[in-house]
Structures are given as structure tokens and as C-alpha cells.
Amino acid sequence: MKVLVWDKSKCIGCGTCEQTCSKTWFKEENRVKSRIQINKTENGFSGNTCIQCGECILVCPVEALTRDSKGIVRLNNKTCVGCLSCVGFCPTSSMFVAPDEPIPFKCIACGICVKTCPTGALSIQDQPDPLEKVFYRRHF
């Protein structure tokens, strides 16, 4: 499974990835609407983007969140009812919500930001397949 990976040691916090992301998906340069969030910390920067763990799939009441054939967790905008359960229950706080957007959004490892990052801090990397637990258990 290929996921977006952020390298702390290379990030300079320029915000190019955030602008690229929001422009790609929301047609506006607005970091609040980026699916990757870079924040300044005491020791540099912290990067927040989805690790595709799939915990959000378990809390979605309408099955709007599913894993695609490549293993990426995707939100079906038409099915989503904007309950924000996934926002509250994301272990890495990588499901985002922004003003004027009734439903949340997340990184789908499209890789567009990787190409624009000036320092090579972002990459798409192969990760182990998700654990079985992220598919809900069929006891019935």
C-alpha cells in the first residue's frame, strides 16, 4: 500500500504542499483546506497526514468511508452525512474539517504535493498492508 510520508528532517515549513493540496482539491489556496497540515513547533515542524490506518471506516454510520483496491481510505462525498464521527475518532487527527465545507476530507495519497515540495520532505512510500482489524468483524 502506497501512502504519503512526511520527513521531519527535510521540512522547512514553506507551506507549498498545503497550497498545492487545497488548490488541487478545493480550487483555492487556503491551508485550512489542505489534506496535509504542517504546523510550527518548538523544535521545528509537525506534519499531519493520513496514514491510511482505516479506524475511521469503523465509526462511519453510512459506510461512506471505504478502502479502495489500492488500500487507500476514501470518503464518498455523496454518501457522507457530515456527522464528523471520523474527525473525532481519527487516531492521528488527520481527518480534517474546514469552514464552508459541510463534510470532512482527508489525504488519499494522490502524490501531487510530493512533486511540488522544494526540499523532498514528502514522498509516496510502500507500507505494510493494513491490519485485519480495520475491516469490521463479521460475527453475524
Partner: protein, 725 residues
């Protein structure tokens, strides 16, 4: 999914429908949480109509239970009985009902004149019906009249059509009819979540404590699940009207069907509350894994778990029905909210259960629950510490449309009567109904559904049974009054109140009968001793019933208010009120409606409806002090056996609490003195509460109070003038 040995045929069911009435209407978007009209249906006359909701109605009654009570008041007279054709079932969500961003926001409130109490009752229930009804264009639905034959009412909120069908082929029992409605009215399996059904069952036809089942389709389990409007016999009323089901179809769910004033604020509050649940629930109540059943062992630890008809509060066998057992039996790892976005998800489910008894023996079913009340009632109160019995009886109560609380408390009463020789095998039809007898209890349940045998007699409810046992079998009416755990005709829910005077009031002073949804003060009172004086208790019995009434006005569930608390809640000024969550509710109400209320106006909104309902009780011949009196079993030890079981506690209280030295006194004397002190304390509590609520010493709201609340409506004044003059 459920697996039936005798599958039904949806085509055959549909083909038998005969259209009796139809109304087409224009669907308009909501305006800040309201549709601004209500739906009127008379199944006796096949009439369908609408009524406008104006600003004055919203100002005075807010919505939900408030709208229901106003519509019900207008529909009935002081002579209306529960089975009169003009009596209604009224169902509403409130203005906050149906938002998806905050847990517990999909509740329907059901009202009607109760078969058990003869007075107005309200019952709060999950499932999708109330919000779907509102999104279909209706703030409430009135169901009046008595149909000649079984009917279904169908509200198609996608196309704006309302129909009444004659419906001879549907099953009456809820687990089947809820699925049949999905099969008949959904376009396909994906569309089944658009179907919400209200139904009852055969047991509701043959008992006075029938419940209503509100469905929601679980896409993962592929089952139409059921939540219950349990209290007050509204299922009995539903079936008396010959309504098999009321169905609402709405497929247009989105993030803002309520067309709220400020969605951004609601998103902020909702997302942070979800996060709080994520972080805190496992450490606190663990609602997400065991639901309300987490309470079983806690109640036992504090001597509060009703055991053997409320004689005792604990039992060594409780671990057999504790949350450890339920955690294992409930399927984990699936969203279990009974409305979209409820991450508290207390609607737990036992899946793949093969029924052992009754008409569906051998079928494989998913069973909603048991919740705490059911586990406590069937497990400890009936003395049957067997989780499989509890699950089986839970399934049948639900599908038959029988309130598990009234059934459990009613059976506990029957069992004590049996053990005291008041009734015997000759009367019960050969069944040994001693405490602990699960198999015999299931026979009673199935008999009740068939309307035969002693099971049907059990379905009369405790108040009618007391009269029957005294008149027919010569039982001592005083003893029956002491042990029959009902107030106003409604069976007690499952908490021991002997050591909490405030909670005795929580039950006795509740408007509709002995239900704990107005106030749950046992820990504040008994465990933490935060409200020691009568005035303190009266203040709590003012604030909490008003605050909790507000959930019913808005279409909310109570549980997300305090079944998880912010990590720093204990450090706040008033932890019992959970101030941060109260602030959430105020913020959300304002963000939906565009109004600007504060926490004081919130209480006023409730006071208006609460006092109106109290006057409604008076109008129907109740609503005074005598109707607030409680059975002594809820205040103290009725029998010497009970006194002896906690003898050190009672003796100590005589000396320390009431300054009466028990040494050298006989057991009978100490027992009697305890009773005198406790009964006197309850009267003093009533005095204090009535005063705090602005009522006279007989428990009737003063005219000045109604004027102050701007609820001095002509009908209200007519009732009060008649009383005060």
C-alpha cells in the same frame, strides 16, 4: 441478517394493500430546525390534513414533547379515556432533532393519554422516524381515531405523498413488520436506510403496557433494528387504534437538512465532543462497548440493584449478568448509533442468536439490547441471573411490543405475591411463578402475546392487579400497596431508592409516573451527600427535571449529557450539571434556530411545558398530592425480612438520623419507627418541592406561576380557576 424458518412474501403483502386515503403535499425546505407545520391523521375517518405552527407555539412549547402536549390537549377533553377515539398518539422530533454532528440528536418523543395511568405520558425513543418525519415536512404527527380494520400510514417524504392503506397481510410483531416495510417501500437494499417504521406487536394488543418500536435499518447487519418508546402503554394505544405501522420514507440525508442558522458553530462543537468521547469513554462508562449495561455491577456495589421485587439492592449472583458478560455477547467494532453520528453508540446488539422458545423458535435473529433496565428487571428483580433468559425475553418483549420495564417489575410483583401465597398454581394455570423461574416467565410472556391464560392477567399492570388480587383473592390491599412498585399506575424502573429520599421524589414527583428520566439523584444524595437538606433536595428536584425535560423538547437523548464527561468536569463549580455540556446544548440550539438563549432561558423553556403538563394531569383528574404518593417499598423496608437484611444500617439511622434510641426495642418496634420517620420525610420533601416549583401545597401550579411563565392560556386558566375556586 435474520434467518427465518418461515419466510414472508413481500409481494403478497403489498398486493393486499387497499388505499383508503391519500394527500399530496409540497415539500419545503426546513427553516432553522422547524418545518412549521404538523400532520393530522384520523385513521377512523380516513382524514389527512395539516396544521400550521406559528411563532407563539414555538415560543410557548418549543417543540418535541411541548408540541405533542399542546396538540394532545387540543384533541381531548377532561372526559377522554385512553380508549376514546379522540385520544391521540402524537410523535415529534424537536428543533434540534436530526442534526448529524452531535451525538444523541435523533430522538422522537411520543405522547398520548396512557392506558396505564389515564393521564398524559411522554416517552423518548431513538430510531430514524422523528427526524425523517421532520425532513419530510412535519414537525409532529397526530394519530387520532380508531380504524375499522388494520391499517398502515405511509409518509413518503421524497415525493410528498401521505397514504393510509388497509393492511391485512403484514405481521403485527415488530421485528417482522419493520423488515417488511423496508422490503415493500425501499427501492433496493441500499435504500432501506431511508425507511423508518413505528410499530407495536401482539403483546401490545393484550396488555396495558405495550410499547412502540421505532426502527432504523442497520446496513452492516442488514437488519431493521428496533428502539423502544417503552413507558406508559403507548403501544397498547397504537394497536387499539388498529394501526399496524406508521412508515416514513426519506432518502435525502445530508449534513444540513435542518437548514440551520450557523453550521460552522455546530461543526466545531460536534467535532470536539466526538473527540472527548474518543478520549474519555473507555476510562469512564464504556458506553461504546457495553452501553447502559455497564451499570449492572455498579448498582449492585452500591446496594441499588433491585433484587426480588426491590426487597434488596444486591445479590451474590450479579456477576452472571454484569457488563463483563454483555461485552462478550454484544458484537463489537461496528457503529451502533440509533441516529447518524451518535458515537456514544449505546444501542448494542446480540447477533446470530437462535431463539429457544415461542413462535419463532429456531430462527436466527439480531437482538437489540439488553440495556441496563432490562438486564436489571429480568435478571435481578425477577431473580433470574441468566443472560440467555434475559436476551430471549428481551427479544420477545420487543417484537411483541411489550415494555421490558413494566413486564419485569410487574413479574417481580407477581413473584412476590406467589411466594406469599396470594396467588397459587390454581390461579396461574399450573405455573410456579417463584423468583428465579425463567422458563415459566417466558410462558407468561407468550401467553400475554396470545391474549390468554394468566399471562394476559399479568399484562393488566400492577395497579389493576392490586385491585384484582384484593377483590378476587382476598389479599390484604395494604400489603399490596406496599409492595406493588408503581406510581400513578406506571411500574417503577430499575433503581432502589430506599436510601435516597431525593430519588424517592425523583420517581414519585415525576409527571408521568415512576420513571427515572426526570431526575436521577441517588449518587448526589446518597453517595456524595451533596444535597443534605430538604431545600437542597427540592432545588435538585426543580433543576434536574426541568433540565432533562429540555431533551424531550428538542429531540435529544439524555445520555451524551453525562454518560461521558469532560476530563476536568470534577474541577468545575457544579460537576453534577456537567456545565461544559450544558454550554454545548445552548450553543447548538442557538446555532440551529438563530436565537440567543442562555442556560436560564433553557430552564424556562422546560418550565413552560412542564407546568402545562402538570395542569394537563389535573384536567384529566390527577395532578395532585395524592397522586404523587409512593409505595412504601420504595421508601423503606416493608417486611421484617428486609429490615433484618440491613439491620445495622436501619438501627444506626434511627439513632443518628432521627435521634431515637433503638436499644432494647423489639424488631417490630424498630421496623415501625423506621417507617414513621421515612414516610414523614417523604411528605416534607413534597412540601419543599411544591414550594420550589411554584405550586400550592397540594401540588397544583399557582395561577401566578403560569402567568409568570406566560402560560396563562385560556384552557389552563379554566382548569386552575375551577380548582382554586
Amino acid at each position: 441478517m435474520n434467518i427465518y424458518q418461515n419466510p414472508y412474501n413481500p409481494e403478497k403483502i403489498k398486493a393486499a394493500h387497499k388505499l383508503l386515503a391519500e394527500l399530496k403535499y409540497e415539500i419545503k425546505p426546513l427553516v432553522k430546525g422547524y418545518s412549521n407545520q404538523t400532520l393530522y391523521i384520523n385513521v377512523g375517518e380516513n382524514k389527512i390534513g395539516s396544521k400550521p405552527v406559528d411563532q407563539d407555539m414555538k415560543d410557548k412549547f418549543t417543540g418535541g414533547r411541548g408540541f405533542n402536549m399542546k396538540l394532545l390537549w387540543d384533541a381531548v377533553t377532561e372526559n377522554t379515556k385512553w380508549d376514546s377515539p379522540e385520544n391521540e398518539i402524537v410523535i415529534a422530533a424537536g428543533p434540534m432533532g436530526g442534526i448529524t454532528q452531535y451525538p444523541g440528536t435523533g430522538k422522537s418523543i411520543v405522547c398520548g393519554i396512557s392506558p396505564l395511568t389515564g393521564a398524559p405520558v411522554d416517552s423518548n425513543v431513538g430510531g430514524y422516524f422523528g427526524p425523517y418525519l421532520k425532513f419530510s415536512g412535519w414537525d409532529a404527527i397526530e394519530l387520532q381515531g380508531i380504524a375499522k380494520k388494520d391499517v398502515i400510514v405511509y409518509i413518503n417524504g421524497d415525493e410528498g405523498i401521505i397514504q393510509i392503506f388497509e393492511a391485512p397481510e403484514e405481521d403485527t410483531n415488530s421485528h417482522l413488520i419493520a423488515e417488511q416495510m423496508c422490503d415493500i417501500f425501499a427501492e433496493n437494499e441500499m435504500d432501506m436506510k431511508s425507511i423508518a417504521t413505528v410499530s407495536a406487536g401482539k403483546g401490545a394488543e393484550n396488555s396495558f403496557f405495550g410499547c412502540l418500536n421505532f426502527s432504523f435499518y442497520d446496513r452492516r447487519r442488514k437488519v431493521a433494528r428496533l428502539k423502544q418508546a417503552g413507558r406508559g402503554g403507548l403501544g397498547t394505544l397504537f394497536r387499539h387504534k388498529n394501526i399496524k405501522a406508521v412508515v416514513c420514507k426519506f432518502s435525502g440525508m445530508n449534513a444540513n437538512n435542518n437548514e440551520v442558522d450557523d453550521l460552522e458553530k455546530i461543526k466545531d462543537v460536534g467535532a470536539s465532543y466526538h473527540r472527548e468521547l474518543y478520549k474519555e469513554d473507555d476510562k469512564q462508562c464504556d458506553m461504546r462497548h457495553v452501553g447502559t449495561a455497564h451499570l449492572v455491577e455498579i448498582m449492585d456495589d452500591y446496594d441499588l440493584l433491585p433484587t426480588h421485587n426491590y426487597k434488596f439492592g444486591a445479590d451474590p449472583r450479579t456477576p452472571k449478568i454484569s457488563s463483563v458478560v454483555w461485552r462478550e455477547m454484544f458484537t463489537q467494532g461496528i457503529p451502533d448509533g440509533c441516529w447518524y453520528g451518535c458515537t456514544m453508540q449505546c444501542a448494542k446488539c446480540v447477533d446470530g442468536y437462535i431463539l429457544q422458545t415461542g413462535p419463532y423458535k429456531g430462527d436466527t435473529v439480531s437482538i437489540d439490547g439488553p440495556e441496563y433496565e432490562t438486564a436489571a428487571a429480568f435478571g435481578a428483580n425477577m431473580g433470574i441471573f441468566d443472560p440467555h433468559f434475559i436476551v430471549e425475553a428481551n427479544f420477545y418483549c420487543d417484537t411483541y411490543g411489550i415494555d421490558t420495564i413494566s413486564f419485569g417489575t410487574g413479574m417481580a410483583f407477581i413473584m412476590e405475591c406467589y411466594e406469599n401465597g396470594i396467588i397459587n398454581k390454581e390461579i396461574t394455570g399450573g405455573y410456579d411463578l417463584s423468583f428465579g423461574n425463567g422458563e415459566e416467565s417466558l410462558h407468561m410472556l407468550h401467553q400475554m402475546a396470545r391474549g390468554e391464560g394468566f399471562g394476559k392477567t399479568v399484562g393488566l399492570g400492577i395497579r389493576r392487579l392490586k385491585k384484582l388480587f384484593a377483590e378476587k383473592y382476598g389479599a390484604d390491599p395494604k400489603f399490596l400497596q406496599d409492595i406493588g412498585m408503581e406510581c400513578k399506575g406506571m411500574e417503577y424502573s430499575e433503581y432502589m431508592t430506599k436510601e435516597s429520599l431525593a430519588m424517592q421524589g425523583g420517581y414519585g414527583l415525576a409527571l408521568k409516573g415512576a420513571q427515572h428520566d426526570e431526575a436521577w439523584l441517588i449518587f448526589m444524595d446518597m453517595v456524595n451527600n451533596q444535597i443534605p437538606t430538604f431545600e437542597d433536595k427540592a432545588e435538585a428536584l426543580h433543576y434536574f427535571p426541568m433540565f432533562r425535560t429540555w431533551f424531550g423538547l428538542q429531540g435529544l437523548c439524555k445520555l451524551p449529557w453525562n454518560d461521558v464527561e469532560p476530563a476536568n468536569n470534577a474541577e468545575t463549580d457544579d460537576p453534577a450539571k456537567v456545565p461544559a455540556h450544558v454550554a454545548n446544548y445552548v450553543d447548538i440550539f442557538n446555532s440551529i434556530t438563530g436565537r440567543n438563549i442562555d442556560k436560564h432561558e433553557m430552564i424556562l423553556q422546560s418550565e413552560r411545558v412542564y407546568n402545562f403538563q402538570r395542569v394537563f394531569n389535573l384536567r384529566m383528574g390527577f395532578g395532585t398530592r395524592e397522586h404523587d404518593m409512593i409505595p412504601y417499598r420504595s421508601a423503606g423496608p416493608v417486611t421484617l425480612e428486609e429490615y433484618e437484611s440491613r439491620v445495622e444500617r436501619y438501627d444506626k439511622q434511627l439513632l443518628e438520623k432521627w435521634n431515637w434510641d433503638p436499644s432494647g426495642k423489639t424488631l417490630e418496634e424498630r421496623h415501625q419507627k423506621t417507617r414513621e420517620f421515612r414516610e414523614d420525610a417523604y411528605q416534607k420533601l413534597c412540601d419543599a418541592v411544591y414550594k420550589r416549583r411554584g405550586w400550592d401545597n397540594n401540588g397544583v401550579p399557582k395561577i401566578e406561576k403560569m402567568k409568570e411563565l406566560k402560560m396563562d392560556l385560556p384552557g389552563v386558566l379554566e382548569v386552575l380557576n375551577k380548582y382554586y375556586n
